[in-house]
């Protein structure tokens, strides 16, 4: 198979292959996500995670049928058909959406491409095809991995329900057509919006809008996935209260399309499938037209127009936060987080986990008939959010923004390392602990009186402080300034580690807190214990920081232990 792919690839023009490889690296330029910056290995791991999710989706259908007789199995599968289809479409939309967010701008020509490739004898359409192919390769890998096991299982179990001998094959074809069409629709829609922005506005405004659009798209994909109501039957879809939502929700359009292709869609919902066809047509046309225009018209403009033009207007307020050093480092951190695409996306990954948990909480609480007393359903998510936010920020701090510019921090290092350490602590409080705390307080406000959640908010603040101190152990560097060993961030490990280890710890802690909230003495013990641990960790960190040295380069562990008995040649005697 590999040989065949290599043979086919070798028939493609050399410049296309070179550009494809370069752009593929660019699409996944979050080197931090990869294992030792190995693209193939990263893609393999990425696919592995998605295949696992697909198996979970399939298992939800297989597992119950193992314990049922034939008659019950058929009725169970009929009941589950629409839900199962909806779940694969929704998760495909979410994954496609997240990939479009991560690879934002990767399909359009940027200044680097224009400056480096334009002087070479390479035609614009070669650049265009190489860019589209790179993005499409990552997207296809994700969609295939996410759906391969699920599509086989669904086709074998749900296809024959139609009674036709060809039911399984028909279902399989319909499944893949709809999944591919849905992904193309979403990706094309994003490209169309980006293309229109690029064509309509000057480059400097496009760059600003693009950053906002990226975050908005990200919020939209996550919100739709977590807030979309589940409709287990076609009857529920035709309910008047659901009409407004399904009319404007593309996942429902493609759900209807899947059922139209399998022959199970009621005629009263045919209009939904028609929307999918129209949406697909508009999205593909829009993407093709805007991409062509961008490559033919705006490539020259990209060179001529500066990324940002001089401007004396606007708000340039920079608040004072603590000492001058703290102000400098906090402002540097917020500017790095908000202005660098790589850092924004890496932080967005963790922010997505936080917002997903928050949205799940909102969803769960609004689904409930009446607000329950402060419960584990509220406590656990808040601790999870705090964990992801603090560790996420700590991880993003490890991504350098411009190593070559660090000389200025080294030549102006006029204070003791513990002062820098304190500035990093404040930054973590401001960007991780405080937002999660306020979000948790805001989410609890409509459901419970402050007196009911005040105790938990105090514990949450202390818990956040504890996590900050844990994250600060050994962090003797200025955020965003230290080189890192590729793959050190290792998001895959962090993700699964947090999910398994941290959630187990949180579960136990939340159970204990839940009891403590009902018992003042126990609560006082809990708070006191937390304070003691925090003070202990703070003292430990502070004392170690006093004797530490700020470092700007992460050095790999040596495979052989060096004794370092000779560190320099002996001085000459002449």
């Amino acid at each position: 198979m590999r040989k065949l792919i290599n043979q086919l690839a070798s028939r493609l023009p050399l410049e296309f292959r070179v550009l494809f490889r370069q752009f593929l690296l660019r699409v996944i330029d979050l080197e931090a996500l990869s294992i030792e910056a190995d693209v193939e290995r990263f893609l393999g791991q990425f696919a592995g995670v998605l295949i696992m999710i697909s198996f979970v989706l399939a298992a939800r259908l297989i597992y119950p049928t193992l314990f049922m007789d034939q008659a019950h199995t058929a009725s169970f599968l009929r009941e589950m058909t629409l839900q199962s289809e909806q779940s694969v479409i929704n998760i495909t939309f979410l994954v496609t959406g997240l990939i479009t967010v991560i690879s934002w701008d990767a399909t359009f020509p940027d200044r680097r491409d224009v400056m480096v490739i334009s002087p070479l004898p390479v035609k614009p359409y070669t650049i265009l095809f190489a860019k589209i192919s790179a993005s499409a390769a990552v997207l296809s890998l994700a969609v295939l991995s996410l759906n391969l096991p699920a599509s086989s299982v669904f086709s074998l179990l749900l296809g024959p329900l139609s009674g036709s001998a060809w039911g399984a094959i028909r279902f399989f074809c319909a499944y893949w057509f709809v999944i591919a069409a849905g992904s193309v629709f979403l990706y094309g829609s994003v490209l169309t919006i980006q293309g229109i922005t690029t064509l309509l506005f000057p480059r400097r405004i496009t760059l600003r809008i693009s950053a906002l659009l990226q975050l908005a798209a990200f919020a939209l994909f996550v919100s739709v996935y977590f807030l979309e109501p589940s409709t287990p039957t076609f009857g529920a879809l035709t309910q008047p209260q659901n009409q407004a939502f399904i009319t404007w929700s593309p996942p429902y359009w493609f759900l209807a399309l899947m059922n139209q292709l399998t022959g199970t869609l009621p005629p009263s919902l045919a209009w939904l499938a028609t929307r999918a066809w129209f949406g697909l047509g508009i999205s593909v046309t829009g993407a093709v037209v805007s991409l062509l225009f961008c490559y033919l018209q705006t490539m020259k403009r990209t060179v001529e127009e500066p990324d940002l033009v001089p401007g004396a207007g606007g708000l340039h307020w920079a608040p004072r936060i603590g000492s001058l050093l703290q102000t400098a480092l906090v402002l540097f951190s917020i500017r790095s987080l908000t202005r660098s695409r790589q850092h924004r996306v890496a932080f967005a990954f963790f922010a997505s986990l936080v917002s997903a948990i928050a949205l799940s909480m909102v969803h769960a609480e609004t689904q409930a008939q009446k607000p329950t007393p402060v419960s584990m359903d509220y406590l656990i998510p808040t601790f999870m959010m705090m964990g992801f936010a603090t560790y996420g920020l700590r991880s993003v701090f490890s991504l350098p923004i411009s190593l070559t510019a660090n000389w200025v921090l080294r030549t102006t290092q006029l204070r003791a390392p513990e002062k820098y350490f304190a500035a990093t602590r404040i930054t973590m409080f401001l960007f991780a602990v405080a937002p999660v705390w306020f979000l948790s307080a805001a989410l609890s406000a409509p459901l419970w009186p402050f007196s009911a959640v005040g105790g938990h908010l105090l514990v949450l603040a202390l818990f956040g402080s504890l996590l900050v101190e844990l994250c600060l152990i050994g962090l003797y560097k200025v955020p965003f300034t230290c080189s890192y060993l590729p793959g050190k961030l290792n998001i895959q490990v962090v993700f699964w580690g947090m999910l398994i280890v941290y959630s187990t710890v949180v579960l136990s802690f939340a159970e204990f807190e839940n009891q403590a909230l009902r018992n003042p003495n126990q609560f006082a013990v809990l708070v006191s214990a937390l304070v003691v641990v925090i003070v202990g960790l703070w003292t430990f960190n502070h004392n170690r920081a006093k004797s530490a040295e700020l470092y700007f380069e992460e050095l790999p562990e040596e495979p052989i232990t060096m004794l370092r008995l000779i560190i320099a040649p002996p001085p000459r005697s002449d």
């Binding site: 004396a312 050093l325 660098s340 200025v408 290092q413 006029l414 204070r415 320099a568 040649p569 001085p571």
Partner: protein, 254 residues
């Protein structure tokens, strides 16, 4: 006074700077010259404390700089060879950050930054991202950052790089003015004509070793050569430039 005593720097055992000694006094502009790879920037980085020397000693006002590195850094201004800056910040943001890192009082430094941005004709662009700055504009930002705390020791590594003619003339006068105010100025450049006009004293480096350390006047009379360029060519340039140019052209043509 800045003094280097038998300073060496080895990378993986290979000497980049080998047994370099020279001194530069207040009120004097010392030119530090050498061909590419001769060890000029490595010496500059050792003087700033960015890299550690393998052997030797660097003294400022008679004391080893390592004895009070923080105090030394307070009194030093440095313009590096390449205009590496944090591109995601604006000019004002970058300079304000440097002022804060240097612990300069907020109001005073804001006025000083504003004034220097005006004098360097960067005021209109002060809120633009540094990524949109030209090389010359970046160089001006580096100069402001190096000078705004009124340092006693000024280290300039190719400070004229990218500057337009007008700005270069201003900088040339500024270097002389700073020396006249008793600053210690060490100035590394490939522009021999400028060095000849600005510097009173030169140190020429070749393959990591000092091959000349004297006033330009004395070097001229000792070597009986009319210009610094001629002195430099004799001491530090190995290849015949005309012959090399011919070989390159032949290779391209082949």
């Amino acid at each position: 006074m800045l003094e280097l005593r038998r300073v060496s720097k080895h990378f993986s055992g290979i000497p980049a700077v080998d047994d370099v000694s020279f001194s530069t006094r207040p009120g004097e502009v010392t030119g530090y010259l050498g061909p590419n790879g001769s060890g000029k920037s490595t010496t500059m980085k050792m003087i700033t404390g960015l890299i550690e020397m393998t052997l030797g000693e660097i003294l400022f006002e008679g004391k080893p700089i390592q004895d009070d590195l923080i105090g030394y850094k307070r009194r030093m201004g440095y313009v590096p060879e390449e205009p590496y800056l944090y591109n995601h910040l604006s000019g004002t943001e970058y300079l304000t950050m440097v002022a804060q890192l240097r612990d300069l009082p907020a109001l005073e430094s804001a006025d000083r930054i504003d004034g220097m941005l005006r004098l360097f004709s960067l005021h209109d662009d002060r809120h633009a991202s540094i990524s949109s700055y030209s090389k010359g504009m970046r160089q001006k930002i580096l100069l402001i950052a190096a000078l705004m705390h009124n340092p006693q020791l000024i280290l300039l590594d190719e400070p004229f790089s990218g500057l337009d003619v007008g700005s270069a003339l201003v900088l040339r006068s500024l270097i002389q003015e700073l020396a006249a105010r008793d600053k210690v100025v060490l100035f590394s450049s490939h522009e021999l004509d400028t060095v000849e006009r600005v510097c009173s004293h030169v140190v020429i480096l070749h393959r990591g070793k000092v091959v000349a350390d004297d006033s330009i006047e004395r070097l001229r009379s000792l070597m009986e050569l009319p210009t610094l360029e001629a002195i430099f060519s004799q001491l530090a340039v190995e290849q015949d430039s005309d012959s090399m140019a011919r070989q390159i052209a032949d290779l391209i043509h082949a």
